[in-house]
């Protein structure tokens, strides 16, 4: 992946988050504190502002630096979680990753997120999108399929009861609403898939 590609990916991701910030905030308002859109926008805007700096680095270092930037800027629980995802991905990924390496690194990065959040699949969090995406990646699905799988996984959080994060304070009343972090994860997956798919 060239520096130009990574810079485009960052910009596209930040644009997608900014365009959906209100939707993410509304989701978080229903069963949380209503700041997820703002938090994610703050973080990804900060990453976009230094897109060229990140893109000039080798892939592992770029991902670690992006993760650190998210950690320092997001301001909500999603900050250390998405930050850990990128930092751990950077630690595991090769300089020129192939699909097998990407899949393995992504799996380890998800484990790191679960450890950071003391959480697991089924608790109505971003993990409920991350894991199915990893499985699809491991199962040889196309990027278009993977984007659809991410959306479906986010949709599937609607019926779950939240057991982590602020939504867990609501107990059964968290059922019937989509998890905000699951939605932002699916959004990022589709954005990256579109660019990578368009290029492939």
């Amino acid at each position: 992946m060239t520096a130009l590609d990574l810079s485009r990916l960052i910009t596209a991701a930040a644009d997608a988050i900014a365009a959906h910030a209100e939707e993410l905030t509304a989701l978080d308002q229903a069963i949380g504190d209503g700041d997820h859109g703002l938090n994610m926008k703050r973080g990804f805007d900060a990453v976009r502002a230094e897109a060229d700096v990140f893109a000039a680095k080798p892939m592992p270092d770029a991902l670690k630096a992006i993760g650190t930037k998210l950690v320092m800027t997001v301001g909500g629980a999603s900050g250390p979680l998405f930050g850990t995802l990128f930092m751990a991905l950077g630690k595991e990924i090769s300089v020129e990753p192939d699909r097998a390496n990407l899949t393995a690194a992504f799996g380890k990065a998800i484990d790191a997120v679960a450890a950071r959040g003391k959480s697991q699949v089924g608790q109505k969090t971003m993990l409920d999108v991350l894991r199915p995406v990893h499985d699809a990646l491991a199962g040889g699905r196309t990027v278009a399929e993977i984007a659809d799988i991410a959306d479906a996984a986010a949709e599937a959080t609607v019926q779950m009861k939240a057991l982590r994060g602020r939504a867990s304070f609501l107990g059964d009343r968290s059922i019937g609403h989509m998890d905000a972090g699951a939605r932002s994860t699916a959004l990022l997956v589709r954005t990256l898939a579109q660019i990578i798919g368009g290029k492939a």
């Binding site: 504190d33 700041d35 703002l38 938090n39 703050r42 650190t68 950690v71 320092m72 800027t73 997001v74 301001g75 909500g76 629980a77 900050g79 250390p80 979680l81 930050g83 850990t84 950071r116 959040g117 982590r164 994060g165 602020r166």
Partner: protein, 128 residues
């Protein structure tokens, strides 16, 4: 040297007011620092601010961090990890209520208790 206390709330007002209450009980006998608010100053927490607060309250005897809700805990744990060893092993994010935990932990720390004892005192305030 006494164990230091760091107070991390989503609200800067809660963090500062808690620090006032701690100071009233223990004076300057305990290294103390607080932070609150996201990087824009709204409700939330900032990993950078937490790292700086740990720096201000640093004690070779260790530092106990009191946090309020979920994000404050996750961001504090992240801050400790970013500070890294050898200091990280002397920093504990307490599982305790922020206001009551800070006052009790600081009172214990002011008597020269070890980090383990300070943390245990705070943890007694939480359901098992």
């Amino acid at each position: 040297m006494n164990v230091g206390i760091v107070i991390v709330s989503h609200s800067p007002k809660v963090a500062e007011g808690t620090a006032d209450m701690v100071r009233q009980m223990v004076g300057d006998e305990v290294p103390l620092a607080w932070c609150g608010g996201n990087p824009e100053g709204g409700l939330g927490t900032s990993v950078g601010d937490i790292m700086e607060a740990i720096e201000r309250a640093w004690s070779e005897a260790g530092v106990a961090i009191l946090v309020d809700l979920g994000g404050a805990e996750t961001n504090s744990e992240m801050a400790v990890e970013m500070i890294g060893e050898p200091r990280a092993k002397k920093i504990v994010v307490c599982n305790a209520p922020i206001v009551e935990g800070a006052v009790m932990a600081a009172t214990e720390a002011s008597g020269g208790a070890s980090l383990r004892e300070v943390v245990a005192t705070a943890h007694e305030l939480s359901p098992a």
